[in-house]
Symmetry: C2
Subunit: 429 residues, 2 copies
């Protein structure tokens, strides 16, 4: 988008266009870079410059600032967002959902705003177009904490559609807050994947120094184009350096840090793959691309809750929730325990037809309700222990399972089957 108002006028007078390489002199410093498009929410007196380092900065142009054109734009199409088509490259579909990776900073307030189109995102990383034939599509643009079952369903259907119409892979730029929930949901909903479905986020928005958006997106694209992979994964920084990403299995990944770029970690398994530049190294077994059509099983039962047990947990609170849902995932202590008092509530809930599943709040390791008498009492009450499944994955899987069947025995069978790698066959010590 062109710059508005007085700033737009000044740029026009200096014959400067979005995409040109320019030089801005301000407060005795000189900044050189490519003029990036204006965003709706950006302050109208600030220009965004993409530096040679790949990072964007925002500069307020005041009275004493000078700006001059160094050279005309090289990547006119990219910056102006006309989607180029390159049939010599493999097609990768981008499904925009919102989140930091599709956000930018208002340099005056420091606040982060969502970008409104997948194109905005894709064009901030023009290198993507060197890797693949980009097909971008915006499903919605929301903070991921506002995502819901219906958004997962829409995503699953769109991803299958893209794969079934020839995309080599699907990239889902996504807010990191609930990305692990989404990747788990897609893992259960999508079957016989003909290519990777990659959820990718960033912990720092793309116009901030130290943004991880570019590297994560490029690694995701590389995976879609080069890997023989038919799984839902999350691709994020592998550590705090900028040299490699990890691809995590969608059902075994969790956001384990509120701000680090390597916030996402595989739990109870190793990351599926390490992606460094063009090199993709798989660590262990993974599902290869299927032939034929991707299948979508997107029915979900929303009436599922998740709760963490803690000392003194009031059974009445459990009863209140249980009265309103069809399934509850408990994150118990240690091997999956709750207090004796809560066992009675579990018993009652199960008798009322509520599916009560048990995971561990430790996150790492498996539950085992056969070691202590508490656990055995929980089993007798009808609680179903879910081995080393993450509480969040169990929560999503229970919604999905109760969407597939209403029969308690059938539901139990599904919950205990390893459908999308959610139960690690071999556990780390």
């Amino acid at each position: 988008m062109r710059y508005p108002g007085r700033l737009g006028q000044s740029l026009e007078e200096a014959e400067i266009d979005v995409g040109d390489e320019i030089e801005v002199s301000k407060d005795g410093e000189t900044y050189r870079g490519v003029l990036m498009p204006h965003h709706d929410f950006s302050d109208p007196s600030i220009v965004t410059l993409k530096l040679a380092s790949g990072y964007n900065i925002g500069l307020e142009l005041g009275k004493d600032s000078k700006v001059r054109r160094v050279s005309e734009k090289q990547t006119k199409d990219a910056v102006e967002r006309t989607m180029p088509v390159d049939p010599s490259k493999k097609k990768v579909a981008f499904l925009g959902t919102g989140g930091t990776i599709a956000s930018y900073v208002d340099y005056r307030t420091g606040a982060v705003h969502p970008a409104k189109s997948a194109e905005e995102l894709v064009f901030s990383v023009p290198e993507l177009m060197d890797i693949c034939d980009v097909k971008a599509r915006v499903l919605y643009s929301i903070y991921s904490e506002n995502m819901d079952v219906s958004h997962w369903q829409e995503l699953a259907r769109a991803a299958a559609e893209e794969l079934n119409s020839g995309a080599s892979g699907v990239i889902i730029p996504h807010g990191t807050d609930t990305m692990g929930f989404t990747s788990a949901a897609l893992s259960f909903m999508l079957r016989a994947l003909t290519g990777p479905v990659v959820c990718v986020g960033s912990q720092r928005s793309s116009d901030r120094p130290s943004s991880d958006a570019t590297m994560n997106l490029l690694a995701a694209a590389r995976l879609c184009v080069d890997a023989d992979l038919g799984e839902v994964v999350v691709v994020m920084h592998g550590d705090i350096s900028d040299d490699h990403c990890h691809a995590h299995r969608g059902t075994k990944v969790r956001k384990m840090h509120s701000s680090r770029r390597d916030a996402f970690r595989s739990v109870n398994i190793e990351p599926l793959a390490r992606i460094e530049g063009r090199k993709i190294a798989f660590a262990g077994e993974h599902t290869k691309r299927s032939q034929g059509s991707v299948e979508v099983l997107d029915k979900m039962n929303k009436r599922v809750s998740m709760l963490q047990f803690y000392p003194g947990f009031e059974p009445e609170h459990f009863d209140m929730i249980a009265g309103n849902v069809r399934g509850i995932v408990i994150a118990g202590t240690g091997l999956g325990h709750v207090s004796d008092r809560l066992v009675e509530s579990i018993d009652k809930a199960v008798r009322d037809g509520v599916f009560v599943a048990v995971t561990t709040q430790c996150l790492h390791g498996a539950v085992n309700l056969n070691v202590y008498s508490t656990g055995r009492d929980m089993i007798s009450a009808g609680a179903v222990p879910l081995e080393d499944m993450l509480p969040e994955t169990a929560f999503v899987k229970l919604m999905w399972t109760l969407g597939q069947t209403e029969d308690p025995e059938e539901a139990k069978k599904i919950m205990l089957s390893n459908i999308a790698g959610e139960i690690a066959s071999r556990r780390s010590v």
Copy 2:
């Protein structure tokens, strides 16, 4: 306790006493070790042998088994549980609460039973008496998932009493499941500590091979005797080898694995100290022993809940809980977020006088509600973000804070003050 029934008779006939070194021949194998006392819950046909390696095994004595005495008991007092007094050593108080560390295995069923006395525990590790003058006392013997505010209060008072009557430190053998909650509770309740208060557990009971009970207890005793430390800590294995323990600050520690011996991890700080044999290496700042009397501030308000936000979280569930409590700790996503729909419920709860605190379910890293509009809306609704405090620590602290004051502003001030190291002044990247 002596062995009962037929087995007891056979041992008596062979002039074998608890504490003797014996040799058992069974199925072509010969086992040599010290005969350990019988426990109430043990199978009456099984003898427990402490091997030279320090591990205990259970052997069923059948018709073809032979047993003979090798030498008479050396540590008669220890095994028979007459408490020796050694005024030349520093006094350390052991406050028994139950848990795996004070449990033993029924070798027939494989089930774990709680020991009934702290003496039982202490005497299974007689090396403790080489380090300190042991004063053991049983407060209760329960699985830690059944612990409650009243147990924490009893513990706090007993720990203060022991320190105020001359103990160099207090060791609390504890079930690992909720040990992090207890250590946090004691951290807030106990002030001006004249010595360390050490919660110590084990992930494998003391009569199993690979038990971590002995090393953890010895490290705890070493800390009580040798360290200039006036804090509540958790002492557990530092990694899966058997060579060192870590002492974790009571407010920054969490059980992060359901079964590994190094399950306890410091979150957002380094472990306070590394204990290897007699060597104690502190990693950073820690509070030294106080002079004078230990103070107990044990008032708690039990009406506090903790809940994890997840996509699709029903505001009505929040409203139901909020209607029943004085405080709620939310483990939000990422920097502490919840959905827009839930912000309205927070607003209502705060107006109704409920203290709503915000932490992150990522566990690592701090919350920050100033970056995204969701967070700013949460602040406007009256939610109080708690920096890098663990959700579990925040839950305990909120109970404690609302026990100290009913004034919302005063409560907020306390919650945001760093009282027992629960807010790391400098965060790891």
